[in-house]
């Protein structure tokens, strides 16, 4: 069995509050494992201990009790960061650098060779759709552009683990979709991702496994489908169902002693999908008119 990307074992983090003999238990004895190539969602209300957990994993904080490791290396060891990319919530980076210079800076910190780095920067700028803004300083970037350059810097050395803290916070639906696609691309490339987000729909869309935290404790943890499945109900989604056949099915259910028909109707799309399809259609239409 391969080494897990992240292993959190009985992690507890306690903060002492200034000079008072008062303590805040931010994380209480939590354990979980993130497998290689897995997308793991960490969700919970504000102050539930998600960020603290991520910081301990990244070695920015020390555990009070328990341990965390990345690919088998203790998080306190700097070598554990060799295979990690991190995008913090609301990142700012160095405003005096351009997008290109930012990627160069982080690439060099990761030890990328000059020849490799040039191609990698160009590849990532294309991937996050910032080629036109590559030479512009980050002080002139919008929130969405900062998130995208942040994502690019996180994966500059092609890490095997990427930790994303609210990657789509404040980003418009199209930008959000773009970031979602990038996360899916990471999954295709075998990269493990820890995603911390309040956008539960997005978490549901991309994550393999999920942990729900509250007040420092882990309430539920496991495979997403297992967690959200309603065990005593079955859903059939049929395309082009003739009315007669539908009536027959409904009758069969009525005739059964135990089975009970809960609802019949059309599946709903999401507001995000509707928004994207409508805006994309609008863009195409205006382009066609322009050409004519």
């Amino acid at each position: 069995m391969s080494v897990p990307a992240v292993e959190v074992h009985n992690l507890t983090k306690v903060f002492s509050l200034s000079l008072q003999r008062d303590y805040l238990v931010a994380v209480k004895n939590i354990s979980f494992t993130v497998g290689a190539g897995e997308i793991y969602g960490l969700i919970g209300p504000n102050g539930s201990g998600k960020s603290t957990t991520m910081k301990v994993i990244l070695g920015l904080m020390k555990p009070t009790r328990g341990s965390t490791s990345i690919f088998g290396v203790d998080s306190r060891d700097v070598r554990s960061r060799h295979q990690v990319g991190f995008l913090p919530e609301n990142p700012y980076f160095y405003k005096h650098l351009s997008g290109w210079e930012t990627l160069q800076f982080y690439g060099k910190l990761c030890g990328l060779k000059k020849s490799v780095l040039k191609d990698r920067c160009a590849e990532l700028l294309a991937m996050v759709d910032l080629e036109d803004a590559a030479k512009r300083r980050l002080s002139g970037y919008s929130k969405g552009m900062l998130q995208r350059i942040g994502l690019a810097q996180a994966i500059i050395q092609r890490p095997q683990l990427v930790i994303l803290d609210e990657p789509t916070a404040g980003v418009d639906p199209a930008g959000s979709r773009k970031i979602r696609d990038l996360i899916m691309q990471l999954k295709q490339d075998g990269v493990a991702v820890i995603l911390c987000s309040h956008q539960l729909e997005q978490v549901q869309e991309v994550c393999d496994r999920v942990a729900i935290m509250q007040k420092g404790e882990m309430l539920r943890e496991g495979a997403l489908d297992d967690l959200i499945a309603v065990e005593d109900e079955v859903e059939l989604v049929v395309k082009n169902l003739p009315a007669a056949l539908q009536e027959q099915i409904e009758q069969l259910v009525k005739d059964d002693e135990k089975a009970q028909l809960v609802r019949v109707g059309h599946p709903r799309t999401t507001l995000e999908r509707l928004f994207l399809s409508e805006t994309e259609a609008g863009t195409k239409a205006s382009k066609t008119e322009g050409e004519v």
Partner: protein, 315 residues
């Protein structure tokens, strides 16, 4: 969408190889990258605008003719220039170092840097060297400008003096040579370079002190105030040593506090050779080597102390 178990996910995906195999524990290249970034950051904060003010100051000082003797005129340029360099350097060393780490923390840039395989010592050394690089480059530019202006003033004053003396028959050839040599002693020479080097060393130690304070300070303002206080006390180091250590004055508690302060606070007075240099005194190479060694020792000790505090810091 998310139905695959971990094992299935691994089967479906082709694992992409990382671009870097295993980076070294300590890398001079990473320190260089951090230094270069800090240098760029400070330069793009329009730091070098001070050079324009310095140029105006030196030009103004060289054109002051307030009934000065030729020697006094050159002395004024030397004093003004070395004084301006000194003030720029220590002001810059304190303020620039004090804002760098808190700003990185505030902008969360620190997170993204420390989440790469960057040891905290490398981060601190890179930041400190970046500040020192800016001070070094600024001092080199100011020194070059100052030397050129001083050289032109010296040449012009000697020519003017020789012209006047040649018209007066009571001055002999020997008088003229002596006068020219006396004026030339206040022109550009190796001592001036020593003076600039002393200014740099003093600022470097000051920046290291500011870095140590900023690793535990709660704000940039606190760092600036504490470093400035240390800087002031550091100028009375010899006096404190004589009082508390040599003469054993004061109660034992006062003496203990005094001894600790003498150990912790660097002696900034030993870097103050600008006045001697401005007045034309010769500073030996041995003094400069000793001064550089002491500055290196202070830099090393303060960097290690900063690392000790910073390595334990949580973000």
């Amino acid at each position: 969408m998310a139905s695959d178990s971990s094992e299935q996910v691994r089967d479906q995906t082709k694992r992409v190889e990382p671009l870097v195999k295993s980076p070294p524990i300590f890398s001079a290249q990473r320190v260089w990258v951090l230094m270069a970034s800090t240098f760029t950051q400070l330069v793009r904060m329009k730091t070098f605008y001070f050079l324009a003010i310095f140029a105006l100051l030196v030009i103004a000082a060289s054109n002051l003719n307030l009934l000065y003797t030729p020697v006094q005129q050159l002395k004024v340029i030397r004093e003004t220039s070395l004084g301006a360099m000194s003030i720029f350097s220590w002001l810059f060393a304190i303020t620039a170092t004090a804002v760098l780490i808190p700003r990185d923390l505030e902008d969360r840039t620190l997170y993204t840097i420390l989440c790469k395989p960057v040891p905290r010592l490398e981060y601190l050394v890179g930041k400190l060297l970046g500040v020192l690089a800016v001070i070094g480059v600024a001092l080199a530019l100011m020194c070059g400008l100052f030397t050129v202006i001083l050289h032109f003033q010296e040449t012009s004053i000697i020519a003017s003096e020789m012209h006047h003396m040649a018209q007066n028959p009571r001055f002999t050839e020997e008088d003229r040579i002596t006068e020219a040599a006396m004026i030339a002693a206040y022109g550009p020479d190796l001592n001036l370079l020593y003076g600039v080097l002393a200014v740099f060393l003093k600022s470097a130690v000051l920046a290291a002190v500011a870095m140590l304070v900023s690793t535990f300070a709660s704000s940039s303002l606190f760092t600036i105030i504490i470093t400035f206080v240390v800087f002031l006390i550091g100028h009375f180091h010899k006096m404190a040593t004589d009082f508390w250590v040599v003469e054993q004055q004061g109660g034992w508690i006062t003496r203990m506090i005094g001894k600790v302060m003498i150990l912790v606070i660097p002696d900034f007075q030993i870097f103050n050779i600008s006045d001697s240099i401005s007045s034309g005194q010769v500073v030996g190479l041995a003094t400069m080597v000793e001064m550089s060694g002491l500055a290196a020792l202070y830099l090393g000790l303060f960097t290690i102390a900063s690392w000790f505090v910073f390595s334990d810091k949580e973000f």
